[in-house]
């Protein structure tokens, strides 16, 4: 199953098992290296992301988690100084070497960033934006989709009477859920969440975390966080990174109860 060469990682990437059936990976990263000038940001990263699970990328700030996430939906293209090499397969497409239909690749993944970035239009148009890009013109279909996705993130009841209000008039927690709804509207199969609760209050954070737990039935979630407790609450699969390298990966029980490396052991002690 695993395509990784032996001996490259400190621990082979094993995916969690459900009953007898092994979960097939939806996304595979092989020998991914990112350089910015002489700075080696990601160092030979190899990993597999299990389908319909929450995979947590854990590690201290500045260890390359966000860069890894940006490689996955090719936002690294925006930064000319970054030199990316290796392979990233989604299903069986090698997206890193594709230059055609990049919007199509990005639509397979919804992005939730550290701070909510609602578009400078109304609440309704924010969620409708992705459909508009896809060329959907049917107003009834758009209206249906907007309601469905706002309900999916538990925002419908709060905003149904002011759908035409500017999205920036929402509270920051509501904005983050709006951004999630907006991402879901393009029907992604993977959610890339880059410390999505770091700017939120504890109640809003809990709402997002609960949403993630529900959403994994339909989506694969890749969550970047440096908050150990959040990782423990949510993770089905953990990847621990340090200084651009993957130090350990595996099930949360294995990693948190039986860390193999000093770096992870130190992180677990400090994080708690």
């Amino acid at each position: 199953m695993s395509l990784q060469e032996p001996g490259i990682m400190t621990q082979p990437a094993t995916l969690p098992e459900t009953g007898e059936k092994k979960v097939t990976p939806i996304l595979r990263v092989q020998h991914l290296n990112v350089h910015a000038g002489s700075n080696h940001i990601l160092k030979d990263v190899n990993l597999e992301i299990p389908r319909n699970r929450i995979t947590v990328l854990l590690g201290p700030s500045g260890c390359g988690k966000t860069t890894l996430l940006k490689c996955m939906n090719k936002l690294t293209d925006l930064y000319r100084e970054l030199n990316v090499s290796g392979n990233i397969f989604i299903e069986n497409d090698n997206i890193l070497h594709t230059t055609t239909n990049i919007p199509g690749i990005r639509q397979k993944m919804g992005l939730l960033s550290q701070r909510p970035y609602p578009l400078p239009v109304s609440i309704y148009k924010n969620v409708a934006y992705g459909l508009k890009l896809k060329g959907v013109r049917d107003k009834r279909l758009i209206g249906f989709s907007v309601e469905k996705h706002l309900r999916e993130v538990g925002l419908w009841e709060e905003v149904k009477n002011r759908l035409n209000a500017p999205a920036t008039s929402l509270s920051i927690g509501q904005q983050q859920r709006l951004c999630l709804a907006r991402g879901l509207a393009v029907k992604p199969s993977i959610i890339l969440a880059d410390e999505p609760t770091s700017a939120l209050d504890p109640i809003s954070s809990k709402i997002i975390e609960d949403l993630f737990k529900d959403m994994k039935k339909h989506y694969t979630i890749i969550l970047v966080t440096h908050v150990l407790r959040q990782a423990m609450r949510l993770a089905d699969h953990v990847i621990f990174m340090y200084d651009g390298e993957i130090i350990e990966q595996g099930s949360p029980e294995e990693l948190f109860n039986n860390p193999q490396t000093d770096k992870l052991r130190a992180y677990l002690v400090d994080g708690n």
């Binding site: 925006l78 919007p103 990005r106 639509q107 960033s113 970035y117 578009l119 239009v121 992705g130």
Partner: protein, 295 residues
Amino acid sequence: MQLKRLFIDKINGFWMITSLVTILCLPLIIGIGLYLKAEPLFGQQSFMSLVFSSQWAPSKGEFGFWPFIAGSLYVTLLSFLFTAPVCLLAAIYLTQFSSKQLIRIMHPVIDVLAGLPSVIYGVWGILIIVPFVSDFVAPFFGTTSSGYSILAGGIVLAVMCIPYILNMLIEVFNTVPSGLKEASLSMGATKWESVKHVVIRGNYPGIISAYGLGIAKAFGETIAVMMVVGNVVKVTANPLHAGYPLPALIANNYGEMLSIPMYDAALMFAAFLLLVIILAFNLIFRYLIHKTKRQ
């Protein structure tokens, strides 16, 4: 000790308010001064006839300012049409698509353009634009022109406005957070779609302010326009004909304004009109900014 601190606090508050009020009063004082100087004219001709009459014969006591107002508006409109799309596209390219080195090169270029005295633009207009209009543009449309024309004035003004509008647009577009662009791209937007929906739509108020600044600057510009526009008192719709903008009228004639009766009052009225039109532009742009901000 405590009393002294409170006293200093009050005194400084007073000076700050005084400075502010002085600045706020300046346009009002200038406006009132110009109005009082122009007042003798109103005894002779009604305000409407002064503004909308095309009869200009100072020696006969006929002062119709419409040719000058129309000339000013025409030159300004032309310059705006030339400069607005070019600046918008250039600013978008510089802030969204180009490398950082290009921006570093462009900043001094823009500063030099902004710092050049307007007489240099005027000379450049006479040497390049005027012959270009008479030798290429006019024959192209099957007509003749001396080159000293409203079109030449519009082109020179457009070039002069570029640094102001471009600089402000760059500032405006640089405020768009990269996270917002990434959010749009990650939903499958192409780069241009992201620019259209996030960079342009989100910044209507800023774009309007930049254009407002450019238009106000263009409307008041004197020397360079005066050198290429022909200075013929006549109302025309043909941009290849000569025109005579308001600032040029004042600059060309203030030396002899005391030699003809009422001429001084007429020139003061021209200055007053300039002030009022610039104020009107400002109010219109303020309203547009306010309206786009609410959306």
